[in-house]
Symmetry: C2
Subunit: 424 residues, 2 copies
């Protein structure tokens, strides 16, 4: 959604600010007032205790209402048709006193009972800004980019990663055998698939033990320990126990499915964890895929960074899903943007889905940084020369991207890249 | 979405079954196979370890693919247009061995990376059936209808309820004063607004102490203790501590915002709680409002009942939101339908939003039960004779509904109802 010429949201006044794209068949000002009322002290009808003093203290405030354009038909089904629908940019703000520095309650405030309001025929949360006092009450990522680089032993350049496939169905020993091959190829980062957690066919504990044996064996050989993100998604006590096992076995990362955990679940994991949290966004499509409903990635990832996610998935350029490239880049930029001058809470974007070295140059051109994880499956294991050649070719493609050398030119002196270009 | 003539989902074969409405610009069988592959052992490209034996053991199975109709335009934005789009009913099943009896991991499986697939121009989860072994591993509601009736002292008929308003802005003492009036009116059930949890202006502990004083004082007078659902939404440790306070003060219900907690958060609360959990669905609109994307209520509430929700919001007939009545009734029926012969896990539907006694008869006609909470704000406090008359009129409207007497006829001998009919 185009936010037009509106300035970036700021929470410098100490209030929480949220930006929405709103479509309404009603008068836009009235619709905005209904939303502001519903999400603070108002309700459908005037009630006795809603005094002017209470409204001034606790009411949501309309900070901006810009008309963008009009439409003949509503974006979402409505009970009563209107002759036309107005699209607006709406900024609302709330006093922190309504909820305190509580992410779960912030969620209910900025994204509660408003999408289904009768006055609303389209509503999308575009952005979110929280004041310093709110951010200070949130844990944020414990490791972020620096901590991840340190634990993975990758001081510069992207972490070249991959995902264990098949997603589910491998036994712990089969998983370890796959990991062994990937480690032999010199990979920096490996993750479980989000479908693989602790099923009876591949129990978490056995998998971690088997995989960590391979990790340590490879590290002894190479002097550098690859980072493996073990998917510990589950109940709180299960996740704590699984985290402790990974930690005790010398592992350096855990992974969780955000939409399975919820904010409260991730906060509990974060409060316990001594390892970076690799956050998977599976299910993101149902939150995002209709442009007139739900969430942009910017406000969504803000919540998860405040809650403690160290790595956040952003899809990838030329991906195999339905997301356009500009959306992928906007997501990655959001993850890399400091939340606040005193609480940057920057996380590491994770690029994946149909990735090869061909995406290195455009990804770097768009972001200007290599502070990211670039995960490729077929792009690495499909290399005609094997996995080690696949990993080498990915690194060479990134070297070319960073130094501004065209891929074919770089390939002339890098045989793995040259061979990869015939396969990618 | 119309599921056509397909039979109800069954998990009698021990597998987890999910039903989707799917729209695709691709060949429907191929699209179904991509979804089944993506959500089990497959990925975009064939990988070495994906053997026929592994696929047979761990793959998702296409159980049904019924073509429903076609459309010229895609329901959701697509990267590449197709000449036409096919709408289908798709049933998939998974072996429980892929994830075990784990709700967070079931979520990643049935609602993970599939809504954004390139082959998908519309996808909606319509239904979910879990086998006995899965349900047996989930806590389910600890109180449900029977426990709620016992604690609220309402053996029959609906619980007549209301919500403290203004939603936020009242101090603990002001909240208690409002509650005092509602209790004096003979109300069965009171809940915090979902925006009111533990903000600095109305701290949870002070509010609970002040309100419980009123609850006990009223109970001493009337011999029956009204149920108050205190919104304890927050981090796990906060919720446990808040729950313990409510319990220690003799309270009988706690409330939480499901989309703030997530499944892992609710499971943690349920594992700790000794009180019924009143589950608020705020945010439901972003999951549901576009008919070609996201969630029907049936599968969504199944997850939360398995996780332990005792009361589930279903909106109300003739509500002030954009949800049609048939959707409200379908939601309430889903909440009341046993999940499984041996694990019914039935929860209590909560009707609210612009409710009055006028909705009693159509609600009862559609459900055939009074096992529900009927929450009205203006429908009670707006009564010309005051709150007690408002509560009485609500009860009278339900008596009329259950005995099949038209409201005007019943009003002839019930003055509170007669007066209410001039206001509703």
């Amino acid at each position: 959604m185009d936010a037009g010429a509106a300035p970036p949201l700021s929470a410098a006044d100490g209030r929480v600010h949220a930006r929405y794209w709103l479509e309404t068949g009603d008068d836009p000002r009235r619709a905005a007032e209904v939303i502001a009322g519903e999400q603070s002290c108002g309700t459908f009808t005037a009630v006795p205790g809603e005094t002017p003093a209470l409204k001034a203290r606790s009411g949501a405030r309309i900070e901006r209402l810009n008309i963008l354009d009009h439409a003949e038909h509503p974006a979402l089904p409505v009970l009563q048709a209107s002759p036309r629908y107005t699209r607006c940019l709406l900024d609302l703000s709330w006093p922190m006193d309504n909820f305190g520095p509580s992410l779960p309650n912030l969620m209910a405030t900025i994204a509660g009972n408003l999408f289904e309001l009768r006055q609303v025929s389209g509503l999308r949360l575009l952005d979110l800004a929280v004041p310093a006092a709110f951010a200070a009450g949130c844990p944020g990522p414990a490791f972020g980019i620096e901590g991840t680089r340190r634990l993975a032993g990758v001081p510069r350049g992207p972490l070249i990663g991959t995902i264990v496939k098949p997603s589910v169905g491998l036994s712990p020993e089969e998983t370890a055998a796959t990991v062994r091959q990937l480690l032999a190829g010199g990979i920096d980062f490996i993750k479980d698939d989000e479908l693989q957690a602790d099923g009876p066919h591949c129990p978490f504990d056995e998998r971690v033990r088997a995989v960590m044996r391979e990790v340590h064996e490879a590290a002894q050989r190479t002097g550098r320990q690859a980072m493996v993100a073990f998917n510990l998604t589950g109940e709180i006590d299960q996740m704590r126990r699984r985290h402790d096992l990974v930690l005790s076995l010398g592992g350096s990362c855990v992974m969780a499915s955000l939409n399975s955990l919820g904010l409260t679940g991730l906060l509990a994991l974060r409060r316990h964890s001594q390892l970076p949290i690799h956050a998977h966004r599976n299910g993101w499509g149902y939150l995002n895929r209709h442009p007139a409903l739900g969430w942009d990635y910017a406000p969504w990832q803000t919540l998860w960074r405040l809650a403690g996610a160290d790595h956040l998935h952003v899809n990838g350029l030329a991906n195999k899903f339905s997301e356009p490239d500009d959306s992928v880049i906007a997501a990655a930029r959001a993850v890399l943007r400091p939340l606040h001058a005193d609480h940057a809470m920057v996380a590491m974007p994770v690029f994946s889905s149909g990735q090869t070295g061909l995406q290195a140059a455009p990804t770097f051109a768009a972001l200007g940084t290599t502070d990211l994880i670039h995960a490729a499956g077929g792009g690495i294991i499909g290399h005609p020369g094997g996995i080690a050649a696949g990993v080498a070719a990915m690194r060479q493609a990134w070297d070319a991207a960073v130094t501004g050398v065209p891929l074919p030119q770089h390939a002339a002196t890098h045989p793995e890249l040259a061979q990869a270009l015939t396969a990618w």
